[in-house]
Amino acid sequence: MLRRTATGSALVLAAALSLSACSGGSDEGEGTGSKTIQVTLANHVWTDNIKAALPEFEKETGLKVELTQLGEDQLSDQYNVKLNAGTSDLDVMMYRPLQEGKAFGKNGYLSDITEDTKGASEWNWGDFQPGPVEATTYEEKVVGVPIITETEVLYYRKDLLEKAGYSAPPKTLDELKEAAAKVQAANPGVAGFIARTGKSAAVTQFSSFLYSFGGQWADDSGKAAVNTPEAKQAYAYYGGLIKDHGPKNVSTDMSWPEAMAIFTQGQAAFYTEASSLYKNATDPAKSKVADTVGFAAFPEGPAGSKPYNVPSWALGINEASENKANAWKFIEWATSKEQTLANQKAGVPSARTSVASDPDATSTYPKDLVEAAAAGAANGVGFDRPRVVKVPEARELVGQPIVDAITGKDSGASADEAAKAFQALLDDENK
């Protein structure tokens, strides 16, 4: 009996040891990489479409794709933890070139795929628009392939505008302000205008206002420019519009899901937002105003209509991946002309020139949205947030005057403060 106890404990110990040895085991087959590709994607219409087409890819190549799908915030937390630990169990990563591109590049998280992009002649790297390509290039090395592009457009409610006596959407920012007031007066209980209000979330949508007023985040010499008269005007305009014509008791934490909800619940007449989110407003399952929503090009400011036109998502390969060759095969397939065309038909604008100019690709879109997006693509600015390594911090700094303008504080003074803090961040990064 006693003897059995001693042997038993030895067995338990041995089992524990061998178990811990197992957990460290790695995939079979070195050199060529595993047959299984670990792909991490964000929740997006693009992802749904790719997911549906996956069996095709698996059949063609004999590879297996293990897909992880996460919300935006969870995705960046995952990357933070896993990439910091140097994990090899991420192969293909869907990331935001403008948000994380520089930081990932600097940290060496993204694999150099210049050779792959050059080597694939049929796939044709030259077909991708130069702006997005610039955003997925870090220090002259290609580190990602842009998959989704978007521009800012004006969403509006045709029925409410009609009621207020308008037959067409506003063409300039002055007209927008006037129309927001009139529509609000003609439709009690409905706000004239809504947009994102969160300090960080609003920055990207505010950027089009900033550019259209003639402002910049930083000037050409790399100095913070968010306190120029143009920028101050833009802050006051954006915040003032929400303060004066937005919903009562407006929250200052809204990102697109909250702002979109107010619009699709029928509680606002005008809404400026990314074009790629239009399905949320036109899908009757998600929107009460699906029948009456219209789209227009971003209104002109003193410097013209200058919305952002950016690659919002890209695919890259984890530098620590042991399966790079197969990871590239997945990217090559997912960004091929066929997949891109299929995705574009399903409502996701791409960065491929040949697809963008294909009339067939946009046949399913609302016609006014196609025109609005084309205008954005023609005059657009290639970035919608400060181009730095520490994007999250910078967004909070330059976003503060937006929130201050919404809550009725002195946004001019706040812009001066923001410029100082932003300058300190720029100095720190350029040291």
Partner: protein, 305 residues
């Protein structure tokens, strides 16, 4: 054969060795657990707090000594307001939860009809996931379409901004925390109450003590150890509250950092700004604050009893 070893008849060297070192062998899983999951992370955090680690923890980092501590302790824009919010949040929810919890526990103490159902109903908030709770209250407190403003409207109270107001957000999150965690205090106190003996109460009744006197001079002193346990458990949890704050106001605790406590601040530093050195510093200071306040609480208890 050493004195404490069991008689082993086997010849295998390993069984003999294992038998001689029983105490180490059996304690080793627990010790390994403590080392891997408690000591190592704390030590690593302490080390990072002395470096300028940022961007990636695997990137080159320099040893900067106490510089991070000086920076953090001198930061009046984010750090000290976060400390104050943490103290405010913990103090208020702890006070309300213990007083309210005691009142509810006293009500539930004596058997009554339908007791089972009432107890189940009171425990409901406790079993809900905090993030789901946060989402739910966010809808309830929505300033435009939420039900909270409608309900108070029936009583003629003007609409409140709730979570959306820079001044009211922290108080609203406290309300949510109280709603969710008072049941736990009730549970602990009720367990203490049911273990009290009846005699002192009866004696006091015969002596003509009023209900309040019986509570103040008999029930409460006898309950003190249980109350301290409840305060300790709830206090540590309240200091570390993260899920409710994050689910209702997001990263940074809102656009004005309205509900940014130390925990939310440290999370933002690590996951948003990727400033691991500074984040570790905040966490170590926070760790010391928690240990300090718990030590103060328990040492007072020892002195009293």
């Amino acid at each position: 054969m050493s004195a404490d070893a069991l008689p082993v008849t086997g010849t295998s060297g390993f069984s003999r060795w294992a038998n001689d070192h029983r105490k180490w062998l059996f304690a080793s899983p627990a010790m390994a657990f403590v080392v891997v999951l408690i000591i190592f992370p704390v030590a690593w955090t302490a080390y990072l707090s002395l470096t300028d680690a940022e961007g990636s923890v695997r990137a080159d980092k320099e040893f900067v000594g106490a510089q991070n501590y000086l920076d953090v302790l001198g930061d009046t824009a984010r750090f000290w307001p976060a400390v104050w919010r943490t103290v405010q949040f913990t103090g208020v929810v702890l006070l309300v939860e213990v007083v309210l919890g005691m009142a509810i526990a006293l009500l539930l103490w004596r058997p009554f009809r339908g007791e089972k159902w009432v107890r189940v109903a009171i425990l409901m908030p406790l079993v809900a996931t905090p993030v789901a709770v946060g989402m739910m209250w966010r809808l309830i407190f929505d300033p435009n379409i939420g039900i909270a403003n409608q309900v108070i409207g029936w009583f003629g109270i003007p609409e409140q901004p709730w979570l959306a107001g820079p001044g009211s957000a922290l108080w609203t999150t406290m309300l949510i925390d109280i709603w969710q965690w008072t049941p736990m205090v009730v549970l602990i106190l009720l367990a203490g109450l049911t273990s009290l003996s009846e005699e002192p109460q009866e004696a006091a009744l015969i002596d003509g003590a009023s209900g309040w006197q019986r509570f103040r001079f008999i029930t409460l002193p006898l309950m003190m150890p249980t109350v301290i346990v409840a305060i300790l458990l709830r206090g540590i949890d309240a200091l570390k509250t993260f899920d409710i704050l994050y689910a209702t106001k997001g990263k940074g605790g809102g656009s004005y950092n309205e509900v940014e406590t130390l925990n939310v601040y440290a999370y933002g530093l690590a996951f948003d700004y990727n400033e691991y050195g500074t984040s570790s510093t905040v966490l170590i200071i926070f760790f010391l604050i928690i240990i300090g306040s718990m030590w103060a609480l328990t040492s007072r208890r020892k002195a009293e009893y």
